[in-house]
Every structure is written in C-alpha cells, then in structure tokens.
C-alpha cells in the first residue's frame, strides 16, 4: 500500500469513447470562441484550441461522463493558455489589425458598439477579469461554473465580473476604448505580470477600496 491512493478510473466502454468523441467535437466551436476572447489573435486562438484538444484527448479517461464537457475542456484550454503566456509565446505579438479584420459583426445586425471595439476593450482588461467576463457574460456559464473553471471562489468571480463590466461600461460610456493599450509595452508588461500571478495560482485577490 502506498501512502497516496490513486483514484480508480472505471474501464471505458466503446460507447463511452464514442460519446466522448461526440461531445468533444460539439464543444470545439465554444473552445474557439473562448480562446479568441482570451488571446485576441484568431490564428493563435486556434493553435490553443488544437493544443487543448490534444490534451483533452490524451486525458479522456479522466473525464467523468455526464459532467459538462464544455467546462472540462475550458479548464484544459485555460491552463494551456496560461502556460503559453508564461512562456512568452504571445508576448508582444498582439496584432490589432488582424483582430479588427476578423471581428466584423454579422451582416444585418445593428451594433451598439463595434465588436472590434468591444473585443479590444476586453483585451485591455486584466486577464483574470477578462476570463471571468468571457465565461459569464459571453459563454453563459453560471458564476458557480466559472468559479470551478478558474479554481477560485464564487465571490471572487462575481467581483471580477462586476469590475470587468464596470470598466467596459465606462469605456463605452466615455467613448474611450483604448487604441493602443496593448501596444504600449509597459501596459502589456503589467498585464503579463498579473498573468504570472494568476498562473502561479495566487488567484490575485482584489484589493478592497
């Protein structure tokens, strides 16, 4: 007997494997949307999705059938993103032109604010607020689900979403979506430093004012 008990994984039937593949396939468009919101550049976002899919496939025995595939794969994608960010993969690589071209609004829809502006505003948020808002405000996850995905308390998610919303709201109200926040090396560095904190599991507790 070893001190650490390994969790027994039930044998997967062919049915289970088929279901896993089906559910994984269904969730890919959502992974793309989450990744795009996180990292801005569509090509990099898809690389991230590819990485997450490979990891999910390799770890499929750890997926509990009946639980949310979207939440499970989002955790994997998020971890891959944080790891890549820490390896400087996206550092200084944000291409606003690309983001703007790709993010055109669907035809025939009235936009209160251009999606490209909104996306840029989103990208200027500190990463932990950005992902919280993406999960809850765009992806439709509950606060509880988002907290599970980010590995933090529900209250923390609520506060991050609230802060993210008020930041974007004031940018929109004042018509001041930053043009160059991400090109500004110091701003970019600050964002990345915060990311390191998040990736290190420090969760970045919000200072109370």
């Amino acid at each position: 007997m070893t001190g650490k008990k390994k969790r027994e994984l039930p044998e997967r039937t062919a049915e289970d494997k088929k279901a896993f593949k089906r559910e994984l396939t269904e969730v890919v468009p959502h992974l793309r949307a989450f990744a795009r919101g996180l990292c801005g550049r569509p090509d990099m976002a898809d690389d991230l999705v590819q990485e997450a899919l490979l990891k999910a496939w390799a770890a499929q025995d750890r997926f509990e059938p009946g639980t949310s595939m979207r939440a499970w794969t989002f955790v994997i994608l998020r971890n891959a993103y944080l790891t890549d960010m820490r390896r400087n993969r996206f550092r200084g690589d944000y291409d606003e032109g690309v983001a703007e071209r790709i993010l055109t609004a669907p035809a025939g829809q009235e936009e209160p604010i251009h999606l490209s502006d909104l996306h840029r505003a989103l990208l200027t948020l500190p990463p932990e607020r950005r992902e919280a808002l993406l999960l809850v405000g765009a992806g439709g996850f509950s606060y509880e689900e988002a907290a599970d995905i980010c590995g933090c308390a529900v209250g923390t998610i609520k506060s991050r979403v609230g802060r993210a919303r008020s930041t974007i709201a004031s940018m929109v109200e004042e018509g001041k979506v930053p043009e160059r926040a991400l090109e500004d090396p110091s701003a970019h560095r600050a964002i990345l430093e915060e990311l390191d904190e998040v990736a290190a599991g420090n969760g970045v507790t919000e200072p109370t004012r």
């Binding site: 999606l115 909104l118 765009a138 004031s170």
Partner: protein, 65 residues
C-alpha cells in the same frame, strides 16, 4: 446631425466621484454592449471549423480504430 450617440451619459457631470457609482447603480440592468459580448462569442461559435481542427478530430477517429 445631432449628438444622439452621446445621450446615454448626457446628464452626468464629469466629476470623478460619479464615475464608478453610476455604473454600479446600473448593475441590475443589461447595458447595450453586454449583448455584444454574447454576440462576439456566438459569432465565433458559428464560424465553420478551420481545416486543421477538423483534420485533428478526424485523426482522433483513426486513433480509435
């Protein structure tokens, strides 16, 4: 030509104190841009899968066989 686009925050003084408070007071109602976030997400969800991702999924099937 009017300044229609700016009516949203028109009555608000430019005082720094009102900044966060005004936003917080409206937390219950959904601002216009909130739909935009969802729309952004959905617009990516609705895109066709790029080839490399479809190919990857296809390779998973071979892996099974």
């Amino acid at each position: 030509m009017t300044d229609q686009g700016k009516t949203g925050g028109a009555a608000k003084p430019a005082g720094a104190a009102s900044k966060g408070a005004g936003v917080a007071a409206k937390a219950g109602e959904k601002p216009d841009w909130a739909d935009g976030l969802k729309q952004f997400y959905d617009s990516v969800v609705d895109e066709p899968l790029p080839d490399e991702l479809s190919e990857l999924l296809a390779r998973f099937d071979e892996d099974e066989a």
